[in-house]
Symmetry: C2
Subunit: 261 residues, 2 copies
Amino acid sequence: MSKTKPFPPTLKQLLLKGNEQIHPGVSVDCVIFGFHENVLKILLLEVKQANIWSLPGGFVLKNEEVDDAAYRVLALRTGLDNIFLQQFHAFGNPNRSDVTFHQLKFQEYGIKIPKDNWLTQRFVTVGYYALIDFSAAIIKADSYDSTYAWVDVQKIGTLMMDHNFIVEKALETLRTQLAYLPIGKNLLPKKFTMPEIQKLYETILNKKLDRRNFQRKMLGFGIFNKLNETRKGGAHKAPFLYTFNDKKYQKALKDGLYGSW
Amino acid sequence: MSKTKPFPPTLKQLLLKGNEQIHPGVSVDCVIFGFHENVLKILLLEVKQANIWSLPGGFVLKNEEVDDAAYRVLALRTGLDNIFLQQFHAFGNPNRSDVTFHQLKFQEYGIKIPKDNWLTQRFVTVGYYALIDFSAAIIKADSYDSTYAWVDVQKIGTLMMDHNFIVEKALETLRTQLAYLPIGKNLLPKKFTMPEIQKLYETILNKKLDRRNFQRKMLGFGIFNKLNETRKGGAHKAPFLYTFNDKKYQKALKDGLYGSW
DNA sequence: ACAAAAGTGTTACTTTTACACCCATGA
DNA sequence: TCATGGGTGTAAAAGTAACACTTTTGT
């Protein structure tokens, strides 16, 4: 500890009185996906003092719906509201506790967290994944003064605690749901091209798809509007732009893309 | 209160010291499916004093994996071990608290639960569903002296708190997973006939299926062994018996039944 | 012998896959 | 003018859906 910063009252309050406002033993963690330059990325925060990266997460307030806690975290971090956010799994490993994380955080202020403080107990965390429009998000690091980064899902290093596992599970869920949910709306800008959404699907599935069959299938879902504009840019024919047909998109979200059986 | 029973020390301990052993604010609830006489049923417990039915559930111990808590509840209730048990959703409504339930329970012993006791706070519950062989289960009601019943999923009345919602969600999950998981192994006896498993599928999907197409599809999965025995009984041709091919079943559980994409 | 339900196969239809040629764009 | 990548259509293959007659069993 080179220098001890003044302990912010809010942090102190968190430590001593947090348990009065915070639902005990439960947290939320968000795997926030964005798609940028044809790469699927997730938003990570760095715990500077601990020199380790983690998922954006937070506590659940007493009297707060757990889903709302996740929305709160998402809005706090991205400035975005009204987003595709989906719970995918609860993680209940008995070793999941943020002891090291919190100790390092508070250590910075010359504070040692007392034994048996509510903060150091095991937290069961509920995992959510969000699909956001990369270009619309304005990321904020948190009061714990972390920094952030968008990291290619293919190149994620070692994360805090079981966060790598959580990301894996989120990806797995996303892959599964791709088959029956209209993914893309929130990951892509309003107007997008077929090659763009195809790239998105290929990235998520980690697999090349046939251009023509992909387009036929996608259009077959009937959830797109074809615009009379093209996106110029490359040394090739300019692809058409599409938007999601909101009404049909909402229906597909509810009913799924296939009936099966 | 006609007569107050002696307050059992274990219950008293639960009230006063439970928070020392129990992970705060989190519980598990199990939707236990069984298939009997061609009807899909779930196991419900009656809270006698409250005259209301509920899902079998329980607390999570400190240092206990949440999944293990669900296994514990399942084993406690059914005597069964090594069962298909799957987490499907966490329920975090801020109103979910067992206040009435617990009050009525303790009232029976002439005890009023103090305000702010750990028992009466909101619990976030993690929902699990299990598929069990109805004929193999030996059901135990719990120390809270409830009684139990297997109830047709089509005829479930009003349950405690949000338990109806939990059951709905479990059914929905089961329906979705039917498309890519080999359901049936745990719901059916070791040997079963095509008409039996078809009935099971029809019940879960709430839809009639074509006998011939169903059989072709099922057998196409390659996870059954056809036996040289038939099940006699009705005034009609005796259907053949099948068993699951364990090796291929396990593989299908892991990889799913289709590849898609 | 009759009613009830199971065994079995074929044909039409739909969906998926594989594949090739032409066209607009920017360098 | 050329390289790049997008637009488009068709034929073969696989999978799904629809459908009828025969067989076994118990009464």
